[in-house]
């Protein structure tokens, strides 16, 4: 031992400056065993490596470099490089450096002590991959976390579901907590089968450059301390804070991304606009034919179009390229940071600008962040964080149904109609005088896409402040912590349906103000101590107060007086509204974490919530959790290749509440009345209920973490069983009740699942690193109970009115139901006398939610160059595609080519069992395919399994030598590709992930914005 140290000392004295040197050696433990997986970092640079299986290493460093050797469980050593390049190191076992995890309420816990599954995502993949939407960036990274990338525009909302749907109709999205403060992630409006906009959610405000780490707490046990809102899991975001340093650190990051529409359309291009096999004969005829592509075979002849211009009857090239633009995004950020023992701070600023693929759609965000921390007086520390975020969005695209939705009209354009004709003389879809929508079809509800993108407006800006103050007093074994955080934003929205729009010639506008405030206060009194006997404890008790207000007030008007003056005052008819939703939850909680030595851990928590939204006589509920973890690798002798083993289990219960004002029937007045008289109506569309009680869910979880060959191979597996009961279900009910929905009190749903992750690092050499990680999760979801006598409830409906999303007892949540083909006993389709397939039973046609998901992550480093890619997959889901259904009606779908020339005879039998011989004449195939759309949902339900190449990242750390003499600490450049390829999908024409909102009725799709493929460049400079 002393020999080594003296060698080092000797070498230290002999250092002299030179360029580069090959340094190599072996790292051993005090007992002389070689240590694999020791982390070696060249101080002051980003380069480093791990020791091999035999503890050896070899790397090229500058001669005056210092190396830091570290490994969990050993004291780190810093050493300079000896002149002969040989550096053997012995690491001393010492006070174990424990890996810690930030858990609920910001309590930092020993990783070994955690008795539930959790995932940590470091900032690097987030900042490199740089999805504008933080939620989407989590896709494929963690087992059990199902992220749906919904095509709804920039800064649209995202859907993140952890371990399946828990609640039958409530919110299933996790709670987002930033530096200990829950933030508002309300989806601010989304589209449904009748169209609408996605106004985004709370996640778009977060700048990925500010994020240090994301921890995903998956189970109930993880959430017991955050209360009911955490029952869907918690995503803890830890942001960067000031670090110690004698100078001010600067980090610059610049990112540029190009987005392209991923064209998934594979429509027929053989037949053009028209009906019955004939091209339009006249301008009026062309206008009447609109989007119908049941015309003649495209033969290049000259055919009149709706604008009176004759054009060759032939397929026009590149419709999609011409309509969707190349989008581009810039995101630049700068952060200054500094700190010493008493005080640290970090000041960050970022600016993001996105021009979207839909023309005239853009989004901007500026964020300012100041985090400070320090010790005010002895033992009293404070952290103050302020974030100010400005978001500005223009022309969010309309989705789903046809009015104002550019995607609808664009998707169905007949092959022979050029987009220029639709753009019209002014290029914006207006008539020559510029005053009216240039209508392409007699159906007024299908809006000209250029008119929709040029004249419709859906703008919003958001000012948001998220602030928090945390004080912590520690004295010996006792600590007291208090915290106040608030998330406040106001948002103004302006929505315009312009004058001259076919379906609304007078035009209309809405100006809306949203104000949301969520305030959380909590304090914790605790005591923690480790006794020399090996026993340690952390007991705490505390309380929490959560108050949220959400107010929407607005003015609307329709039919403008003075053209072009877009104010409510300038409208003939006006209306206004004001709504306020309030919710408060008060809670008391407490817990104890006990451990014996470093291998046995026991955690207990309890919480009591009081909910304002429930009846006062049934508004509170206590719920406990218990967890234990056992690090058996510390206790028993394991085979040599096995370096770590932990077994954990936990049981937890969580309760939940309902939306405000769900208890009583209320009334309001309609508009401005009539003939001077007020008009009254019932406010509720959902039947209220005075007898609601808190819902509960219970979860039991069992998991195993193993590591082999040092850290070369890691394996984590968890199984869970979660039972939700007394769930309050908002169920669609027959309109004949007078209402749309009712609250049903005893819903029950089970989720059982298994999730696992394997990571393998086969190569950890000086110049080479290779890490391969695979994660997957399977969730078995079953709806157990929907209330007395209720077998099935409907939660969403397709615009075609033929397919519905249901929860049904004994089935997984969100199944697709609709009319199937009528079939005989042998399974043949039964046709009527008219040759049309007959409608069969209303039955289950598919599963709207994928139940087996996962991702493969691979990263390879060669010297300073690294390459990573992420492939993710989802299986076990289906989709009802209204886009395809309408493509049948309009003759765009390739299937509709059958029968155009010679007619068609459906393959099947008649009602009497004879072979069907009823022929549909070539001119009548429209009726046949339209009949399918309006009667048979089964035809449009597709297997939505997919595999996507989600991301490829190449990054390069510029050699430190290049800027040795400057103050630059490091420069990294990287290139990123997102959503590069749909490797596997069976859904025709649309992306298998398409949906038009982030609500529970998943499995429906209709004319969304196409998914985008992005290519980006990122530059990171540290000063």
């Amino acid at each position: 031992m002393s020999k080594y140290i003296s060698t080092i000392l000797l070498l230290l004295m002999c250092t002299y400056a030179s360029a580069q040197i090959q340094v190599e050696g072996t790292v051993k433990s005090q007992s002389g065993e070689p240590l694999p997986g020791v982390n070696i970092v060249v101080i002051g640079t980003n380069s480093g490596m791990f020791t091999d299986i035999d503890g050896s290493y070899s790397m090229l460093v500058s001669k005056d470099a210092s190396l830091r050797f570290s490994m969990v469980g050993y004291e780190p050593i810093v050493s300079t490089v000896p002149s002969d390049g040989t550096l053997h190191v012995v690491l001393k076992e010492g006070v174990k450096l424990k890996q810690v995890v930030v858990t609920a309420l910001g309590i930092v816990r020993d990783k070994d002590a955690i008795a539930y599954a959790h995932e940590e995502v470091e900032s690097k993949p987030l900042t490199l991959a740089r999805e504008i939407n933080l939620g989407d960036a989590l896709a494929g990274l963690a087992p059990g976390v199902n992220v749906s990338d919904i095509g709804t525009g920039p800064a649209g909302s995202s859907r993140i579901i952890i371990r399946g749907n828990h609640s039958i109709s409530g919110n299933n999205q996790p709670l987002f907590v930033v530096d200990g403060i829950p933030i508002d992630n309300t989806t601010l409006g989304s589209s449904n089968q009748w169209g609408g906009y996605d106004w985004g959610d709370g996640l778009s405000s977060l700048n990925p450059d500010d994020i240090e780490k994301i921890t995903i707490l998956k189970g109930n046990a993880a959430a017991a301390l955050y209360g009911s809102r955490a029952s869907n899991g918690v995503i803890l975001v830890t942001t960067k804070r000031g670090t110690k340093g004698d100078k001010i650190g600067v980090e610059l990051n610049s990112n540029f991304t190009i987005d392209q529409a991923l064209n998934t359309f594979d429509f027929q291009r053989e037949y053009g606009q028209g009906f019955g096999g004939w091209a339009p004969g006249t301008q009026d005829d062309a206008h009447g034919s609109g989007h119908f592509s049941y015309g003649g075979k495209l033969d290049g002849s000259s055919v009149i179009q709706f604008d009176g211009v004759e054009r060759p009857y032939e397929a026009v090239d590149n419709h999609s390229r011409n309509f969707y633009e190349d989008g581009h995004s810039f995101n630049n950020s700068i952060a200054l940071t500094s700190g010493n023992e008493q005080f640290n701070w970090r000041l960050g600023f970022s600016d993001a600008r996105v021009n979207y693929i839909v023309p005239n759609t853009n989004w901007k965000r500026k964020t300012f962040t100041l985090s400070t921390g320090g010790e005010i007086i002895n033992n009293l520390t404070a952290e103050v964080t302020t974030r100010y975020i400005l978001e500005d969005s223009e022309n969010r695209p309309r989705l789903s149904d046809s009015p104002g939705n550019p995607n609808y009209s664009f998707a169905l354009i007949p092959a022979n109609v050029p987009l220029e004709a639709w753009a019209g003389p002014n290029g914006d879809g207006s008539t020559e005088d510029g005053l009216n929508e240039q209508r392409m079809a007699s159906n007024k509800w299908i809006t000209n896409p250029y008119w929709a993108t040029s004249r419709f407006k859906a703008n919003d800006d958001k000012n948001r402040v998220i602030g928090s103050v945390k004080l912590r007093y520690e004295l010996d074994w006792v600590y007291l912590q208090g915290r106040i955080g608030t998330d406040h934003y106001d948002s103004r929205r302006f929505t315009l349906t312009p004058e001259g729009t076919a379906f609304n010639p007078g035009g209309s506008l809405i100006e809306e103000n949203l104000v949301a405030t969520e305030t959380n206060m909590d304090f914790i009194l605790g005591s923690t101590h480790d006794f020399s006997s090996g026993f340690g404890y952390d007991v705490f008790t505390g309380a929490n107060y959560m108050d949220s207000r959400f107010e929407s007030s607005g003015l609307g008007g329709f039919d403008f007086h003075v053209p072009g003056l877009l104010t409510v005052q300038n409208t003939i008819g006006q209306f206004n509204w004001d709504f306020l939703w309030r919710r408060r939850v008060n809670s008391l909680f407490g817990g104890a974490n006990l451990h014996w030595k470093n291998w046995m851990y026991l955690n207990l928590t309890g919480r009591n919530d009081w909910f304002s939204t429930l009846p006062t006589d049934a508004n509170n509920l206590f719920y406990p959790s218990v967890g234990a973890s056992f690090v058996f690798s510390e206790l028993v002798e394991l085979p040599e290749f096995m370096s770590y083993g932990k077994l954990y289990t936990s049981w937890a219960k969580v309760s939940g509440d309902v939306n405000p004002y769900s208890l009583d029937l209320t009334y309001n007045l309609i508009g401005q009345g009539f003939q001077g008289q007020p008009l009254g109506e019932i406010t509720n569309n959902t039947i209220p209920d005075r007898n609601l009680k808190p819902s509960t869910s219970r979860e039991i979880e069992l998991g195993l973490d193993l590591k082999f060959f040092g850290k070369r191979i890691g394996l984590a597996v968890a199984v869970y069983n979660r039972q939700t009961e007394n769930d309050i279900i908002e169920s669609a009910v027959s309109h004949t009740t007078g209402y749309d929905a009712a609250l049903i009190k005893q819903g029950a749903m089970d989720n059982k699942g298994i999730e696992g992750a394997i990571s393998v690092s086969p190569i950890q050499k000086k110049d080479w690193d290779w890490t391969f990680a695979f994660n997957a999760s399977k969730n078995w979801n079953e709806v157990v109970d929907l209330g007395p006598g209720i077998e099935s409830i409907q939660i969403a409906e397709s615009r075609t009115s033929t397919a519905f999303i249901h929860h049904e007892v004994g089935q997984p949540a969100s199944i697709i139901k609709g009319f199937a083909f009528k079939r005989d006993d042998a399974g043949n389709i039964v046709f009527g006398e008219d040759g049309l397939p007959m409608q069969g039973e209303y039955e289950i046609l598919g599963n709207g939610v994928h139940d087996f998901i996962g991702g493969i992550h691979n990263s390879v480093r060669w010297k300073s160059l690294s390459l990573g890619f992420l492939i993710d997959f989802k299986t076990g889901g289906d989709i009802y595609s209204a886009t395809n259904a309408f493509a049948y009606t309009y003759g765009k779908h390739k299937e509709t080519l059958n029968g155009r020339e010679n007619g068609l005879i459906g393959e099947g039998v008649t009602e009497t069992g004879q072979t069907n011989t009823a022929k549909i004449e070539p001119g009548d195939v429209l009726s046949y395919y339209n009949h399918l759309r309006s009667n048979i949902a089964e035809e449009f339900v597709y297997d939505a399994d997919f595999i996507k190449l989600r991301q490829v990242v190449i990054s390069y750390d510029l050699p430190a030598a290049w800027f040795e003499s400057s103050s630059i600490g490091g420069i990294t450049v990287s290139a990123v590709g997102r959503n590069l390829a749909l490797l596997y999908s069976k859904v025709p024409n649309v992306d298998p992930e398409s949906t038009y909102n982030n609500e529970n009725g998943q499995g429906l799709e209709m004319f969304g914005v196409p998914q985008t493929r992005s290519f980006g460049f990122n530059l990171n400079v540290k000063l």
């Binding site: 004969g281 304090f523 008819g573 008391l588 508004n619 007020p678 039947i687 027959s734 615009r799």
Partner: protein, 491 residues
């Protein structure tokens, strides 16, 4: 520091209370109660049909079934007997959530209030009006349990047999009109139909009773006869002053005429050839009020069931410009909705007399009906005046012959068909029960009825999703859920 620690128990107390929770959970922008009159007013306007309902049901489908309107455009599915789920469903889904919800809540509030007995009685009459439109279009529907999701917690209302609904509606009309106390004041302000004239409400109830009675002529003539007699004896409408209609207003929403939006935004509707031909054959002055056309042209109806190609093949015309449009002044946003006019009441009475169910002069009542149908147009526009001499001429030139029953039925019901132009659901119901006028169905390729004029709407597909057991029971009773299946009274 020690003092601070003493505060901790107080903090616990503060965080564990539920003070103010009741108040926090009270919607500050809604009332916890409301006068039933305000719900009644709303139900009157709602029953006149909002723009979704009127476009989907009345115009795009029924007006074409009954051959008032025809077009080559595809979005008017009814013209070609094509089935479109949304337009077929919208009447059902809207009516139960709007007018049914309002009237059921209103009746519940007024039921036990001794000061509101007249309001309650009139509400019962109005409820019958609301439901007869629905059952006529769909057949068996939820009736006794409808609209009671909150009041009784009924989430899957039973479908009542149309026969039972009719019998109940008729007895309701009898009981409710009798329950009206003409000496008691009625708060007139929210009554946008009769402005508090309770006797008019009584006569409306009796004429509605006659309408329902005559619906049953095919299925149960004896029952029809007894109710027609009763309606007559109780006292029918006596002049156009008794006609039930509601005015509308320019503003969007419930106050607006439900038909207006369609005509503002969709120029595809043309008067049907069958309709124009009938008006022309009888030299009917109403043609020039119902229809509009360029001065240089002659009124011309569009055949039903044609597309642009068929139009071109048959006429060489490339557009519908030369065919008669609906006069926009019949369907402005402020144009009234006629619920039940004196004209209809008189025409039905004429038929009852021809059938010898009540005694009277059939010709006199027929002529009253025709005269009233022409005079009532003035409610749409003050210029829509047909003077008495023109009406006299018309009656002279188209003499009514009560001696030939079938001929009389044909004339009466053809007049009814003209008189109910734009009250399409009623026109369609009366055509189905009477068979007049004789309409020739179209047979557009691939239509969903096999070339038959539809006889009803299909149940909304959503009902299969949310109320399937009750619906299946109705379907098994009534027959397959098709456009061509006939409702109980339509044999």
């Amino acid at each position: 520091m020690k003092k601070l620690i003493l505060l901790i128990p107080l903090l616990f107390l503060y965080f564990s209370c539920d003070k103010d929770f009741e108040e926090i959970n009270t919607n500050p922008n809604a009332a916890t109660d409301i006068a039933p009159e305000l719900l009644f007013s709303t139900s009157l306007l709602q029953a006149s049909g909002n723009s979704n309902q009127s476009e989907g049901a009345d115009l795009l489908n029924v007006s074409c079934y009954v051959q008032h309107i025809a077009t080559t455009a595809f979005n008017w599915q009814g013209d070609k007997y094509l089935f479109s789920p949304f337009n077929n469903d919208v009447l059902f889904s809207d009516a139960f959530r709007n007018e049914v919800k309002s009237i059921v809540a209103m009746l519940d509030k007024a039921k036990d209030d001794p000061d509101k007995t007249n309001l309650y009685a009139i509400g019962r009459i109005w409820k019958v009006y609301i439901f007869h439109r629905l059952t006529d279009m769909y057949g068996d529907i939820p009736y006794t349990e409808a609209g009671r999701g909150y009041l009784d917690g009924i989430l899957d209302p039973v479908y009542d047999k149309q026969e039972d609904i009719y019998k109940h509606m008729l007895s309701e009309l009898e009981d409710a009109t009798k329950a009206i106390d003409v000496n008691k004041p009625f708060n007139w302000e929210p009554d946008f139909v009769y402005y508090g004239d309770v006797e008019k409400w009584q006569r409306f109830g009796h004429s509605l009773m006659l309408r329902l009675a005559m619906r049953m002529v095919k299925v149960d003539a004896a029952l029809a006869e007894s109710w027609a007699k009763k309606a007559f004896d109780l006292g029918l409408m006596t002049s156009t002053d008794d006609s039930a209609f509601i005015g509308h207003a320019w503003e969007d929403g419930v106050a607006q005429n439900g038909l207006a939006k369609t005509f503002e935004t969709d120029d595809n509707a043309r008067l049907s050839k069958a309709f124009v031909d009938y008006l022309k054959e009888t030299n009917d002055p109403r043609l020039y009020i119902f229809g509009s056309i360029a001065d240089t042209l002659e009124h011309k109806g569009m055949p039903n069931g044609w597309d642009d190609g068929m139009l071109f093949d048959s006429t060489g015309l490339t557009d519908m410009e030369t065919f008669s449009r609906v006069n926009i002044d019949m369907v402005q946003r402020w144009s009234p909705t006629l619920f039940l006019g004196y004209a209809e009441s008189e025409l039905l009475l004429a038929e009852a007399i021809v059938r010898n169910w009540v005694s009277g002069d059939a010709t006199e009542h027929y002529e009253n009906g025709v005269r009233a149908a022409m005079q009532q147009l003035v409610i749409f526009n003050e210029w829509f005046i047909i003077d008495d001499s023109a009406i006299d001429n018309y009656l002279t030139n188209n003499p009514f012959n009560p001696a030939d029953d079938e001929a009389a039925f044909e004339m009466i019901n053809s007049q009814y068909w003209v008189a109910t132009f734009l009250n399409e659901l009623e026109s369609f119901a009366n055509w189905r029960r009477s068979g007049y006028p004789v309409l020739t169905p179209s047979n557009y390729p691939g239509n969903d009825t096999g070339g038959l004029i539809p006889r009803r709407f299909r149940y909304p597909q959503e009902e299969y999703s949310v109320n399937i057991e009750n619906l299946n029971e109705a379907v098994s009773r009534q027959g397959a859920d098709l456009l061509t299946t006939r409702v109980w009274w339509d044999l």
